[in-house]
């Protein structure tokens, strides 16, 4: 039985929810880390997200975005990087001194390059 038949049968094939760390794409992480090393300092306190204007109205979440980059979760990143308005309020809050705005900018740049096969 192939996948199409299985779907008709009443079952569906879900994509695995697993974060497969062995096959994940590290290129974006490497790109961001190299250009904005303070990225490594995030300890996931969520101060950025608490203060984020975009995050009050959309699902944008900078703390989660950082984790996506670290784990090589490229798919959710594509959407996420477009939501930031680069206002920089998060910069004022971050207790680890991460240059948060540049993290988003570099992640967006990495995604663009990835799409053009330049990464």
């Amino acid at each position: 039985m192939n996948v199409k038949q299985a779907n008709k049968f009443g079952f569906s094939i879900n994509r695995s929810r697993l974060i497969d760390y062995d096959t994940s794409d590290r290129k974006v992480r490497e790109y961001v880390t190299l250009r904005e090393p303070s990225f490594k300092l995030c300890f996931a306190c969520g101060g950025c997200t608490a203060t984020c204007t975009a995050g009050q109205h959309t699902s944008f979440n900078l703390r989660r975005l950082n984790t996506y980059i670290r784990r090589g979760e490229i798919e959710p990143l594509r959407e996420e990087v477009t939501r930031c308005m680069l206002c920089g309020k998060c910069l004022l809050v971050c207790p680890r001194g991460v240059n948060t705005r540049n993290v988003v900018a570099m992640a967006a740049e990495a995604i663009r390059k990835l799409e053009r096969n330049e990464l």
């Binding site: 300890f43 608490a50 995050g55 809050v93």
Partner: protein, 344 residues
Amino acid sequence: MKGTQKHVIIAGGGVAGMEAAGALAEMGYRVTLVEKGQDPGGHLLQWHALFPDSRPAEEVKSYLRKRIGNHNITVITGTAVEKIKHHPGGTVTVNLSGSKEEKADAVIVATGFDLFDARRKEEYGYGIYDNVITAPELETMFNGGRVTKADGSVPSRIGMIHCVGSRDEKVNNNHCSKVCCVTAVKQAIELRKMMPACEVFCFYMDMRMYGPYYEELYRESQEVHNVNFIRGKVSEASVNINNRLVIKVEDTLAGRPLKMELDIMVLMVGMEMAEAGTKLAVASGFRLGINRFLEAGDHHYGNNLSGVSGVFYAGTCTAPMNITDTISHARAAVAETVRYLDGR
């Protein structure tokens, strides 16, 4: 004869200084305990009950008062130690405020810590909004037996804000003050016991329950007292039209921003190197670590050594620590001091 005539000056009359003074006096040394405040006792003086067992702070205060009651101890208050210098031949001179100079055979530095000035985290509104208080101010309320808002009314929701002035590059403190997490849990339990109708929330980044019975206390706070925990660093506080505090935080475990109204916000202020201790260190040429506390000669087996012959460190002038560790550290400083004096 065990150095009956030898004289040790102790800079700082807090927990470490008092314990060290008592231990040395007991062994027959002559001790001068110099305290800059009006009374010995340090920060413990304003505390009501201690973690992890809610023991009345008065019991430890009274133990320490007895400790310095020994006839070998002279207590000088209202006086700061401004400079310490070791001279060839072994004498150590100590400059006291008021330009007095004292001679000793050894000196123990126990200048302790300063509490973080919460006004430096302006976004939390301490000193701006009425109902933003610090953890020691809550202890003062516990001492008075009543916790109320500034207008005298009874609070129905209180938030404990962890890591105020600790683990925060924005205020130049990357270190963890260690004791604030368990203090928040202790105070949350006391609030719940005192006012069962009042909700209590702890806003934390990590719960650092490092000491014996701390984790158990954390568990008890959930199991018995229904204290709530939200993982996220509060980014700012404001006041709404009903004059209630409103905080913004990310509930990082839900992955969404959260706002909450509070009647009282308790800031768990951390520890910093004491200003008086810093001045003393600069004048005397003592090394400061990257956390700006005094850097001991060796972090593993020379934790009381200053690097200057005849000068030893005790207590929170070297790093944040709880009372138990402070007392142990002071006793270790005494052991190092006695070894030094006996070997001369």
